[in-house]
Amino acid sequence: MQIWSTNAKWFQIFKYEKNQFINFTSGKVLDVTGAKDEEGQAVGVYGNNNGKHQRWRVVYLDKAGPVQSKGLNKDFGFHINRPFYLISKLPFNRVAECIGANNVNLKRWRVNTKAQQWYFDGVSKTIKNNNWKSHSLDIQGNGGSTNVRCTTTNSRWW
């Protein structure tokens, strides 16, 4: 499934019924591909088998609870928006620093150096740098590398 310019043809018309999004014409339903409950898993349409991967709740924003903006996020294990250092357990106990809004290197701790401070952002669910607040920890090459960088936040799985 994708989004596309509106043309209101049959392949764009869905109704919501009994916790399923059903194409009005084909009867196929919105479906998490392979029933895999994974971050970034693709969503498509499939014949209806009423599995949990085909069932959805509609949560209207005016009825949704506020986004958690402080305190511990239990799913991720971080306190939201609370700066921290990433300290290596190697002998010098160096800290991770964002260099030039790009590379992440181990450096000796320096006083009040915001590029050495990180925080968990409760909205994007990423670890952001306290100096470059639009940048997050990121596995280079769309997750295909072993190198970690500090790059523009995108909330993708890497």
Binding site: I3, E39, Y60, D75
Partner: protein, 98 residues
């Protein structure tokens, strides 16, 4: 689109409702429920998977649908558009499309 006569097939294209003018309520307006489609008109919503992690329907590359943890972005916000009967994204107002 023309209206024609054909041998009966029982398909939806051959089915009609009769609603007397005096009973016609008109189309649902913004904030009202469209009962046929099960959604409120132009009322923003998230689509939450019932798989155990309850991830939200989202977009990658501003195009393709995936499930992701809530992130507060417009790519996770949808609304029902009465004029086209499609579900649109608040990102750029494009519609769900197979």
């Amino acid at each position: 689109m023309n209206v024609e006569v054909h041998p009966e097939s029982g398909k939806i294209r051959e089915q009609w409702d009769i609603i007397y003018v005096a009973d016609w309520k008109g189309e649902p307006k913004k904030g009202e429920l469209n009962e046929r489609f099960g959604l409120y008109v132009e009322r923003d919503f998230y689509v939450v998977s019932e798989l155990p992690s309850n991830r939200y329907l989202d977009l990658i590359n501003n195009r393709n649908m995936v499930i992701k943890t809530p992130n507060g972005r417009k790519t996770q916000v949808w609304y029902f558009h009465q004029q086209t009967l499609t579900i649109k994204t608040r990102l750029n107002n494009q519609s769900w499309d197979i």
